[in-house]
Symmetry: C2
Subunit: 348 residues, 2 copies
């Protein structure tokens, strides 16, 4: 199978699951009284998104069960004991958590654009954005309590979701703290990425196993798959911030550089002697020019920093796929592997 | 028994439980890496607070079990099936949720003082305050997953906590929206108070019954006890904002009036023809004078509005106590009744 075919297959899987997930979001998170709060809460969810984490959750469920992709109803998915579990609710819950973190992060990072539309604190106001995020937070927990899984498994899924949210907060705290430091070590950066981004991928993958009653070895392996591919995903995100045109990115290209965000790319460049802080003069994404970003990217390419990030992401992806070997061989497992590849080959 | 003795008995119960709760908060929410995040998260918890909701939870556990106050270890409390449940964790979880809402509400309401110390967004900054609240949110859920209760009961407690948090957000959204309206109906105000404040009292009371495996009639009755006494509590809070010296209140007396917050008092006054919006000229709590607040209070007293609020709170308190009749008669149940009285007789 050629790479092109593999990517097409992954994109198909993402698209067909995305449509199901979007329908489920409408069902699980209806606009209700007070309407303005729920409209603000749904604003970023409605602005788009590939629903990658729900794709991981639903694929992981199929891989744990060892069944063909899209051969079962995610709303009544057979657990290993034969009882029906609403895997789609778990998938929606995790996407809702992701959306909550985007809303609060955009306030903290003063990012005014998200998915090509104004961030919630711009479209509405900061108070509404705080509250919209808080509402998504509790709705995600509510939705996760209602999967119908065996109560012990359901409670374990709640524990995992809660501890993951704590870790995401810790990761965001580190990310914010890093902005005022220029001596970040690569291992500190990787810890931050693991907490801020990768743990939610780990939870997206392992929650399916937990809810279906799989043994601990399976859920741990899926968690590690999510951690490694999630770290690779974030590193690719850092690459994309520099290499994808602003209109495709949905925000200004080079924003991370302008805002002084450290990435694996800038950390490598510093080690290579590049004056990272002097790469762009603009103080805000609104001020920076495409020419200025082009010049900065050329310096980072010259230093080998972008290539270094790509290689690190590729290594992590290879490791992520190895964790899946404990699962029975199936087309669903193969799709999880392909998805890990896609996370670092995607163009946006 | 005289009223004075009853109040002394309640204050003793609150104090001895508060000390246990504070020790448990230290155990369940230690300062860990990244330290600044956890210090900010604990800042308002450490600034004081009477721990009224944990008092309700622990008293409710004793009343459900029909045992003497303080006769059992809350960390290993016998459920109705004889298995040990960590009721203290549930109590801490609910206090942590309360603390999270204070931190985020203070940002939204631009309140700079809380419990006599700077609000978290003043002591640190808005980003840190958002993130500290988010961290407490997930920690509360984590802590609630670890009570050791029967999994089905534990999951039901999680569902109740999550739906309660959603309702608190809805209540806060209504509260914020009310600031730009001057046509609030009393029933809208009472709905807001129920969502913003009373549901957490309801959950504090009923969670104990849920975790101990009591039947639905008992947990529902305790929920209603919390709802009615929680609404009375909030109305008393509105009275105290006008009648207690600023130094005892821990913030400027009359803040609600200055900030244009509608309360049952102002709604009644409007119906009596008082020009509520003209009661104080100051635009911020920092600008208002004690004399200006005194004058406003005199007008509201003349209109009978403060007395009206006191009477409404007293009616709700009487109703709250009636719900407790389904519980076996015990000193613990009597203390829950006395606590409801205390919530509307307390001076701060």
């Amino acid at each position: 199978m050629t790479t092109e075919t593999t990517e097409a297959r992954v994109l198909d899987a993402i698209r067909e699951r995305r449509d199901l997930v979007n329908a489920a979001i409408d069902e699980e998170l209806p606009v209700q009284h007070p309407e303005r709060l729920y409209e603000a809460s749904r604003y970023i969810l409605e602005a788009g998104g590939k629903r990658l984490r729900p794709t991981v959750t639903t694929l992981a469920a199929e891989a744990v069960a060892g069944i063909e992709p899209m051969s079962a109803d995610f709303r009544e998915f057979d657990a290993l004991d034969g009882e029906p579990v609403d895997v789609m609710r778990a998938a929606v819950s995790i996407e809702v958590i992701q959306s909550f973190t985007l809303i609060h992060d955009d306030i903290m990072d003063e990012d005014d654009l998200r998915r090509g539309v104004p961030a919630v604190h711009e479209k509405y106001d900061v108070s509404t954005a705080i509250l919209a995020g808080d509402t998504l937070y509790s709705k995600a927990f509510e939705i996760m309590t209602e999967t119908g899984a065996d109560p012990a498994d359901g409670l374990e899924a709640m524990r995992l979701l809660a501890s993951t949210c704590t870790e995401i907060c810790e990761g965001q705290a580190l990310d914010v703290a890093f902005e005022s430091r220029d001596d970040i070590l690569p291992e500190e950066y990787l810890e931050m990425v693991e907490l801020k981004t990768a743990v939610l991928y780990g939870t997206a993958a392992s929650t399916a196993a937990v809810l279906l009653g799989a043994d601990g070895g399976i859920s741990d392996a899926l968690y590690q798959y999510g951690i490694d591919s999630g770290r690779a995903f974030q590193i690719q995100d850092d690459v994309l911030d520099l290499t994808v045109p602003s209109e495709e990115l949905g925000k200004q290209r080079g924003s991370d550089l302008v805002e002084g965000k450290e990435t694996l790319i800038t950390l490598h460049a510093r080690q290579e002697g590049v004056d990272v802080d002097g790469l762009v003069d603009a103080e805000t994404p609104a001020e920076v020019t495409e020419a200025e970003v082009d010049e900065a990217v050329a310096v980072l390419e010259e230093a080998g920093s972008i290539e270094y990030a790509r290689e690190t992401a590729a290594d992590l992806t290879a490791r992520s796929k190895e964790h899946l070997q404990v699962l029975p061989e199936s087309d669903s497992r193969a799709l999880l592997e392909d998805l890990a590849d896609y996370l670092i080959t995607r163009g946006y």
